[in-house]
């Protein structure tokens, strides 16, 4: 399973549904972003149909960095009920991603 590439608008549309959403903020130059994407590709099928997910290239969609106070890459943003629920900054291993998604689904 590969992550859909979203524009900033597509990201906001996903958030606007009110569903649980995970956004992977990435850039081509970021050495941890490839490994992070491979973790997500393995973890996310478990959450399919419960979580919407996509990746956003911050080099193209620069407003996202300011809007969500992003300090570095990779960064994972988690949303639910149209609200920002949590931010995972830096590379996260599979258990941490699962924990964050379980938390937002139980919120």
């Amino acid at each position: 399973m590969s992550l859909p590439r979203w524009s900033a608008d597509e990201m906001e549309q996903a958030i606007a549904t009110g569903d649980a959403v995970l956004v992977d903020l990435r850039a081509d130059w970021c050495p941890q972003c490839g490994p992070q994407e491979r973790v997500l590709e393995r973890v996310l099928p478990t959450f399919d149909e419960r979580v919407r997910f996509g990746s956003v290239d911050v080099e193209v969609n620069t407003t996202v960095v300011d809007d969500y106070h992003v300090k570095g890459l990779p960064t994972l943003l988690v949303f639910r009920d149209r609200r920002h629920h949590s931010t995972l900054a830096g590379f996260k291993r599979a258990p941490e991603v699962r924990q964050a998604l379980e938390a937002v689904l139980q919120a």
Partner: protein
Amino acid sequence: MTTTSPPNPITLDILDEGDREAFIPYAPVGENLEHVPIHVRPELHYYIARMGFLPNTLKLYMHMPWAAEWLYKLNNAVMRDERNSLDEHFKYRLSLIASRDNECEYCTAHHVVTLKRRWNEADEDVQRTLRFEDAADEREEAAIAFVHQASLDAAGVTDEMRARLAQHYSPQEVMEIVLVVGFWKMYNTMHTAMAAPLEDPVIDYADWVNIQPAASIG
């Protein structure tokens, strides 16, 4: 960076490791290792000579000298056995990346000091390795990319990464790199889980584990 330089001679100047206590008492090793089983003593002597001090973790392992002996032998086999094809300097640079990616403060600080003391690396040289800015060629890049991914998330190593490694290295060399990853994963896990206290000669490098890559690799 070329990686064929021989290490500096082992030292006879033994530094004081300091007095930071671990969460359990250290095993008594004696003033001159006299409490260490005689057949394990050469391994510890070589460790001290190589590092310049007696690492605290070795004093913890010495609660089980019958197991510690094999850890020391495995360390030598993976990192510096004369039958290895890849040189020890290159393996220490890979180990530095693995230990950083495994978030092991203790091992990362040790690797930094080892690279500085045994191969005369400046702080900037070590930082360039941590930032992925010093790969000499595609061959080194293939190894660094593999070690980085395998240490962060082994299940995320792709067929492309494995193929690239096999393209640039002999089967034995591939296994040497795989063993570097696996050996440090084991040590990193144990040392982090125990919160192994850093020793005086390496304490200044405690936060180097936080130096992240600045460039994409592979």
